[in-house]
């Protein structure tokens, strides 16, 4: 399931942390009814500007809460303009967070992320179905331990979901997936 939060309904120009504080509970309410693996899209279409305080309170705080309060849910942003993308990216970089942006069917990451983590994320997206650390390690020619570290980091940032699966040999294993 996917839900959409239309940010434009709260104004074209979104100023101040206070404004974000008013709006964020609605976003949290939507996250609460989602199950693990489901997605909440923040649709920014029609929003011309938000200041850094707004972005910190609305986007960054919500992203920080996801691994703790809503593990496995995906938060995605869509329809950013060049200007709002630049400011959101600066905000995320300043807090050390990363967020998924969806443009059409393409997913990419906003914020400051090591290129190796970006490659790993892209590989999971390309896989189109849940994939194991061993498969990724072989695909990207990275040692399994290093791959597990990357995956753990991506999961902590709420960018990939870790789910339990069973290997062909019947062993328990973890699978990694991005939103559908």
């Amino acid at each position: 399931m996917e839900k959409r939060f239309l940010l434009r309904e709260h104004g074209k120009q979104l100023w101040t942390r206070e404004k974000a504080k008013e709006i964020r509970p609605q976003l949290q309410g939507m996250l609460q009814v989602l199950n693990a693996g489901e997605t909440l899209v923040i649709d920014v279409k029609g929003v011309e500007v938000f200041d850094y305080s707004f972005a910190n309170e609305f986007f960054a705080k919500t992203l920080l809460s996801i691994p703790v309060d809503y593990p496995g849910r995906f938060l995605v942003v869509e329809n950013l303009s060049t200007y709002t993308r630049e400011n959101l990216e600066k905000t995320l970089e300043s807090v050390g967070l990363v967020m998924i942006e969806r443009k059409g069917k393409t997913l990419h990451l906003l914020g400051k992320l090591h290129p190796a983590d970006q490659l790993t994320f892209d590989a999971i997206v390309r896989a189109k179905e849940p994939i194991t650390a061993a498969e990724l390690s072989s695909q990207l020619d990275v040692h399994l331990t290093a791959m597990n570290e990357r995956l753990s980091k991506l999961a902590k940032l709420g960018l990939v979901r870790r789910e339990k699966g069973t290997s062909p040999a019947g062993r328990e294993q973890y699978l990694y997936a991005v939103l559908a």
């Binding site: 100023w15 200041d51 850094y52 305080s53 920080l64 200007y83 600066k90 300043s94």
Partner: protein, 290 residues
């Protein structure tokens, strides 16, 4: 006629010379609650808001401050800029401003030489309207490109929010003016606790030994009164925006001031006479008709 020592003969009162005024007259340290602007022939918006904050700060005990101002043009400007109306509860002018002139200039609001008059902002809830106004004025009176106007409004927003995020009993003052379509000056001032006291409330911050250090720390990313990771970015982003637009910023708090000139990414600091609160002057070349 020889002017008394406390006067400011032929002085331009701006964010820098405001400190000269305080050094010579310092009503915070003397029984004489007077700002003697005799001889002053020009006042910049940054100085107007600093003066407003100083007068409100002094007025917390219920007493009025006297502002002596003789120059006719300056007196008219104080009326047209909205300064007189804003400080009316805490200031007595010498000579008195005529109520007829006050009404006349009051009716001219919006047509005055300041793009945005001296505005007293009493709560964070008033900021969105003020910021929308900043954007409108820049875009429709100065024909700024949309995103340039937004950048400036964001800078103003980040400065002004600090007043209300970190103080419980202080209001802020704002003014904006363009000069000969060449540069834009924005002044924001409050008379709250100041940066040092604010940063010291957070035990996770490194020790803050002076106002100078406080300004330095406050402009670094992630240093705030609050330990929350999403805080402490306001002044950092102000400097980033100033750098992007090749402007300059002066941040004054307590007994220190730091000036940032954006052709060189560093700050120069100076000790000044102590005044409560934080006062910021933001100057940048205009992009009129850009």
């Amino acid at each position: 006629m020889k002017l008394p020592d406390t006067s400011l003969s032929k002085l331009k009162l701006d964010a820098v010379t405001f400190d000269t005024l305080l050094k010579r007259q310092n009503p915070f340290q003397s029984a004489n609650r007077t700002f003697d602007l005799t001889g002053v022939h020009f006042i910049a918006p940054s100085a107007l808001v600093q003066l407003a904050a100083a007068c409100y700060c002094l007025g917390r005990d219920g007493r009025q401050t006297t502002i002596a101002v003789d120059d006719d043009d300056v007196r008219s400007y104080l009326l047209r800029s909205g300064f007189v109306q804003v400080v009316q509860p805490v200031v007595r002018f010498q000579p008195r401003m005529s109520s007829l002139r006050m009404r006349t200039f009051g009716d001219m609001k919006g047509t005055n030489p300041l793009l945005i008059e001296v505005t007293r902002v009493q709560s964070g809830a008033e900021l969105p309207d003020l910021l929308d106004r900043v954007v409108r004025v820049l875009r429709y009176r100065l024909r700024y490109k949309k995103y340039d106007a937004f950048d400036i409004a964001i800078a103003v927003s980040e400065i002004c929010q600090n007043t209300f995020d970190h103080n419980t009993h202080a209001c802020g003052f704002f003014a904006m003016q363009v000069y000969q379509k060449r540069f834009l000056e924005i002044g924001v001032a409050d008379y709250g606790d100041g940066l040092a006291a604010t940063l010291r409330r957070n035990p996770n911050n490194s020790p803050v030994a002076s106002d100078m250090e406080a300004i330095y720390h406050a402009t670094r990313l992630g240093t705030s009164e609050f330990s929350d990771r999403t805080r402490g970015a306001g002044l950092f982003h102000l400097l980033e925006i100033a750098y992007k637009h090749e402007g300059s910023v002066q941040i004054r708090s307590g007994a220190a001031t730091m000036r940032f000139r954006m052709d060189k990414k560093q700050g120069w600091n100076f000790p000044v006479i102590s005044m409560p609160g934080v006062q910021i002057a933001f100057t940048l070349p205009t992009k009129v008709g850009a």
